[in-house]
Symmetry: D2
Subunit: 381 residues, 4 copies
């Protein structure tokens, strides 16, 4: 019989640390590098007390470092300054204050600011700016002209934000065409915080715009994302030569991004497919069974992204699992069975699955195949 | 045989929430009311961006509410204003900004400020002040005079702080005698954040000063205390008629406090003993055994404080456990055995234990007794 | 700036225990006693190695004790004995082996066995039996006759089990009418493990049968239920005078049960309503706001059951939240707003909500009301 | 201000899974392969209901698989058969029953049994046996002779077990010399469950015996080790060509093992040093500071073993951290400072540390060095 008292003591004297993310330690996000690029984890939409955020700027690089990010942009509101009676407006200060913390942690810090207007044109982020204070203008078109002069990039923020679009559906106004024609708008937020805009996903595919996903975080990150319980913040994966500002800018201009949100990856198949292939490996395992001949697929996922698969087509002599989950950083076993009892199988087997959380368009996952030789004989009873 | 696949699915479809504390939800700290008073959980030493903290003041009541606190004081540094080029000094603003959030959450917000001088006199908190800006003076004695005029209370902060006392040992200077003689100093921090000063504990006992324990928090609370893993912030338990400012002030003046830090309670036996008695209940359970006659103590702890007990004296015919842990919010079983084999026991049994984490002085826990009738007969083999 | 190194040390030296359930410690299930009865937490369907389970019988009371249960029945299969070549059939042994562990832990252990036949009649549990070996008969009707002689109670297990009903829908056969007519069948499993059978729920309401919910556990409990992450096992709440076999039997015969599964309670309103009322308390909090006059509902839940509420009717001058979650053992704040800007409110307010997870019939929650006086004036800008 | 209600909803709708180990999923133990061998994770001391364990044998491979093990031995007691009235003695059955589950999961299952005698000789495990029932003999010396005939290996279990050595200190008796002289004893348990025997560690070093560390598990593994909170079971790391029985036997005979227990590795420097080197990488980061010139060591640990370091020697112009923790699977930052203010540093820096939890002898960790070029200039104020 198990000894109650002994067990109790054991549990109490041991220090257990089951923490996914915390300040003072960096936990890498395990998503592989692909296509010869580094897979940088970035958040280009972040606030501080210099507009309507709740934290001092130097906290942001520390948060980002501990969560495994590589680059962030501080993008306080240009036109919305609710704390200005306590903190006189100075849009360059967030960057200046946060820079030493970013350097220490090895985080690439990008200077930014957020155009904050009614819809249209709504809210738009400017990043890679040189002087954020010079962006303060009566007319937002002048702000854009100034940003262009500074060599900045622009992306449209949360187009389906309910405060500006009560039905939650993004609308494309002539003003957005105007912005696009200025040659400064490279992308749109397909995800803001935990909101995904399918119509924006389609726009990006049609108009060849860069997919962006950011947190728009105002509070301390741990107050909004439950990092310790394993939740991850929304990030934009940027496929870049290195973590320099130039390399990141080049990747953003050339649409080399994937949005990582709620354990889903949203982007082009040319990035999603190699991420899956470099993360997942499998092996078939023979077992002796009575009844239906069975082997097992032993499937391993060496990344932080759990994958959910749905059967699309297979050999009709064989029963594959209809759905298929491969948890992050784990190996699982799934049975593959002969469709009938007491028959032997000796052939090449192929099954195609849709990866439901690797999305190239709204509701459309990439297709992958499991292909292996099977040779099983039912066990004599 | 357990089905791998089935289990996997079960684990993945269920949403598990194992969170001890988080914003948006309040988790009460389960320590009972005693001696006819409410047991208020308070933190009287908290910073914001208005001195060297990292957060906007309105976050503090929300943090406090979610962790189960009842009252807090915002106590930004008077003489240390490292952000003054960005945020012009205004020591009344933290309170004004935080007040609506405190009201909504039902947190009693107390106006405070921290005298920030070299040692002596070091750092001292003023709470229940009326105009914090009026405390800005060249000479700290004038600050104290002004505070007294405003009806404030003073307590000395972290007397053993290594930045001011490199050996970590608090020293009592003539300046502190001066402050005490002004009739404004009601207590001292025996605990600051996670540092406990035993010599200060002795001073408080000798000089009849109020025991204070605070966080001195500068960052978001979740960045310093691992709330989700079950850690609690340091607090001062205040035994007050209600949660009004007046009742709290009365309790502080009259030394009705206990410091709760690292799962220990530090204070007077008149509070510690009833807290233990209202939290812990026990029952003896007869069992039939071969060999040494045994019964079990089934001990329940209906509070958030785990108790650690050490045997001090007992009946010598009986073997009690030498040490004894009663985890928070749990019931445990401990064996009580006859000292010899094959004898019967039928008598009143008493054992005295020291509760190691209910401290009335450095290293000195309160003594409690387990008293019950035992009647056990060894089982026939 | 936060000190990385210091934080790291702090996190590492502290022992954090964030465990919901584990062996060696009992965690009570916090659901209040109601209607003058004790609310006992029971599982009447449990297996061991004496049929097709994986564990020795004495583990079962220990598991049950640590999870906060009060009574269990061991119900190994009568006709299915896959381990009989290693463990010769003896259906009385599970009880005999487990009894000392049950006594030590204070768990009421009930002798049982499971009739294990094809459908119809399928599987049926017999509890409160006297000699389980005497139940071994060729004809299941003889088993029932013998069980009746022993004074046992019978309930039908998992009527919608897919191995016997491939579409997952329970069917009532003449055999079940036969069993019912023997006067021995007092209830049916409306929940087995994590499967809920809505049609059985209706049957129980119509035929006045007792609602049963059990685990049917074969493996160690921690391999199936993620107790440490906060999941609870399926249990039958039994409203009884005390935890004696007689009192439990009386409650089962008289339909005083509620099934607790996946954070839902299934049963009669006469039990569900007082459980809710004794668990939940609320208070309205006035706040000063610009725009729409607002107060907050501060709602506390002093039980382990999280409640999910949906608005059914309210005062049309006032906007209540459409849905409403009250997490277990927490307090939350919800806004109640005037429907229009800049109006004052001074009236008695009432809103009716359906508690979605307190089910009296499939899909039908109980209705509760929040009733309070509101008096808010919009804040001058 | 953060919106309470919104946050609450967010927390509740998300499913968080923060689980380190669980059935149905395999989590690899991240310790690198070294010296051209696979690093196999093995447990050679495990019980089932076929002696005094609590579980059916087929559970053991599943547990092992989910925890990332590669090989296990089932070693039920030969002479201690407390369940024999219910389960007639048959020491070959545990292996036979568990084999299909082991094959499915890819776990190498080794046939074993435990000699269970009073001290001397105490308890000794026999592994790689062919017929465990043939080991049942009156005289333990005959058991050893039979085991030798079968080609088995023997190791001495828990020599300091308090039930046999009340002071907890292992003693070497003539009987152990006898066993050693039979040429069958290849090792000793330096760790059993959570007990470490330093004197046995010395014996193994002196007598050139293989270091063994096992669980001696009797209950379900999750009832003893808190896997979900990040605790790991005691294992023997075996450095073998592959996971075949032959390769494992070869490694055990040739002393290619390291014991992994309570986050410590115990073994020969020839294995410990490359494990550390393949796990840990570092980089020095320049920062601009006022006062003492500082750079940071950014240290990464790509393994499941947290390392604790203590400074042994360094350049005296430079202040290195005295102690140093590198948590598992994390990166941390540690400051390296000039000893005096306002001096520049430009030189090659070296510091030697003892890794306190990589033990080659009791209390003796391996020594490693951090060596890098530093060039820092204090920042102008």
């Amino acid at each position: 019989m198990v000894k109650f008292q002994q067990l109790l003591t054991l549990f109490l004297i041991l220090a257990f640390v089951s923490i996914s993310a915390q300040l003072g330690q960096r936990k890498e996000i395990r998503i592989p590098d692909v296509n010869g690029y580094k897979t940088l984890k970035c958040d280009f939409h972040i606030h501080t007390v210099f507009s309507d955020g709740n934290v001092w700027p130097d906290l942001r690089p520390e948060e980002a470092w501990s969560e495994g990010l590589d680059a962030i942009a501080l993008t306080d509101h240009i036109e919305y300054q609710p704390k200005k009676n306590d903190i006189p407006t100075n849009l360059n200060r967030p960057y200046e204050i946060a820079k030493p913390a970013a350097d220490k942690a090895g985080i690439t810090l990008i200077r930014g600011a957020e155009i904050t207007r009614g819809m249209p044109p709504g809210h738009m982020n400017l990043i890679f700016v040189k002087d954020a204070n010079a962006l303060i203008k009566e007319d937002w078109k002048e702000t854009i002209a100034e940003a262009k002069k500074q060599g900045a990039l622009l992306f449209w923020n949360h187009p389906g934000w309910k405060a500006q679009q009560p039905d939650g559906i993004a609308k494309w106004y002539p003003e957005h065409t105007y912005v696009l024609e200025q040659g400064i708008m490279m992308g749109i937020e397909v995800v803001n915080d935990r909101d995904y805009y399918p119509e924006v996903h389609n726009w990006c595919n049609e108009k060849k715009l860069t997919l962006m996903g950011d947190t728009d975080i105002h509070s301390p990150i741990m107050f909004v994302y439950n990092l310790q319980a394993g939740e991850h913040r929304t990030v934009t994966l940027v496929f870049a030569k290195d973590n320099s500002e130039e390399a990141i800018k080049d990747a953003l201009i050339n649409r080399r991004t994937v949005v990582y949100y709620k354990n889903q990856l949203i982007g082009d198949e040319s990035f999603l497919a190699p991420i899956f292939e470099k993360s997942v490996s499998f092996k078939s395992v023979k077992v002796n069974t009575t009844g239906k001949a069975t082997c097992y697929l032993r499937v391993s996922n060496d990344s932080d992204v759990p994958y959910t698969l749905e059967l699309k087509s297979s050999n009709n002599k064989i029963i594959f699992p209809q759905t298929f989950v491969i948890p992050a950083n784990r190996t699982v076993l799934y049975p593959v069975r002969a469709a009938e009892e007491n028959i032997s199988l000796s052939e090449n087997v192929k099954a195609e699955y849709e990866v439901k959380n690797l999305l190239t368009a709204p509701g459309k996952g990439i297709i992958i195949a499991f292909n292996f030789d099977i040779e099983v004989t039912p066990k004599k009873k």
